[in-house]
């Protein structure tokens, strides 16, 4: 009895290639349609609390702790030796009045950083140093420049790998306001 049932079931084994193929095609079509949207780098730390970062405090209007969980702010990793950071700097300068920006100099020397800022302007409300790049790794940094957007609850809302442009920054701010 059972044997017969298995036998009749086995007749349909010839269908298995086409079924598997259809499933595969579904995934491939989905992916090719969404390839643009998914290209943005994601971070596992998204919507998580900002981890505790070990940084050298240089100077600023307030401390990181006094900000955290009260106001939204931006963390910008930069370095005086990095060329794209110079381009990005003018964008940050433009927004320095409207946004609270924390600058973290990545693997950099304090004198070089000061020279860099006096040359290009200082958009940062707080300036800190990450001399060996360890704090950056706690945030999952790929390389400089990289920017993190923190909301008023102290959660990471967005991560931008590579230099910001005015257009990109506007888009990010807009999308963060909507949420």
């Amino acid at each position: 009895m059972i044997k017969k049932e298995i036998g009749s079931f086995l007749k349909y084994i010839k269908l298995s290639p086409i079924i598997l193929f259809l499933i595969l095609s579904y995934f491939l079509f989905w992916k090719i349609k969404n390839i643009q949207n998914t290209k943005e780098l994601q971070s596992v730390l998204l919507n998580q609390d900002l981890p505790k970062l070990e940084l050298e405090y240089v100077d600023g209007k307030f401390t990181l702790n006094s900000l955290l969980g009260k106001k939204p702010f931006i963390i910008n990793f930069f370095a005086s030796w990095c060329a794209p950071c110079r381009q990005e700097h003018s964008v940050l300068e433009k927004y320095s009045k409207d946004l609270i920006i924390i600058g973290i100099a990545y693997k950099d020397d304090i004198n070089n950083v000061k020279k860099f800022l006096s040359e290009l302007g200082d958009p940062y409300d707080i300036l800190m140093l990450d001399p060996n790049g360890r704090a950056a790794i706690d945030l999952g940094l790929y390389g400089v420049p990289e920017t993190y957007f923190i909301d008023s609850k102290g959660k990471i809302k967005y991560r931008q790998v590579g230099p910001l442009t005015v257009k990109k920054l506007e888009n990010i701010l807009k999308s963060l306001k909507v949420n």
């Binding site: 596992v44 790929y142 390389g143």
Partner: protein, 126 residues
């Protein structure tokens, strides 16, 4: 009948022996090489940390080395990195429910195809 059993046993033996590399007696240098070759260099294309010279890869390798010397286990180190960089960094996916299909497919596909093939033989008639 026996023929098949032998193959199955042989198959399972290899499966088991190759999935448990002897991790007990290897020194930290070897552990470092093994571990960093199982992790992806995130800013390169399909290269492991071990092979990469990029800034990020060098930093991560330094951290791995320190943590091995601190006596942390491979899993602890992997967890540390996954928390920061996501599962994307692991070249060997985690063995969990989400990846269950990935890990059982080798065996399941073998059994299924073998089952179909056996129907073509006079195996039952004997």
């Amino acid at each position: 009948m026996n023929f098949l059993k032998i193959f199955l046993a042989f198959f399972i033996c290899i499966y088991i022996t190759s999935s448990y590399p002897n991790q007990n007696n290897i020194n930290s240098e070897k552990r470092f090489i093994e571990l960093s070759s199982e992790l992806r260099c995130l800013v390169c294309q399909n290269q492991s940390l071990l092979e990469s010279d990029s800034e990020l890869a060098n930093d991560l390798k330094e951290i791995i080395y320190e943590k091995i010397n601190e006596g942390q286990s491979n899993n602890q180190i992997k967890n540390f990195l996954v928390q920061r960089y996501g599962e994307f960094i692991l070249f060997k996916p985690l063995f969990n429910m989400a990846n269950l299909l990935l890990w059982v497919t080798p065996l399941i596909s073998f059994i299924l195809i073998a089952f179909i093939a056996i129907r073509k033989t006079n195996y039952k008639e004997k």
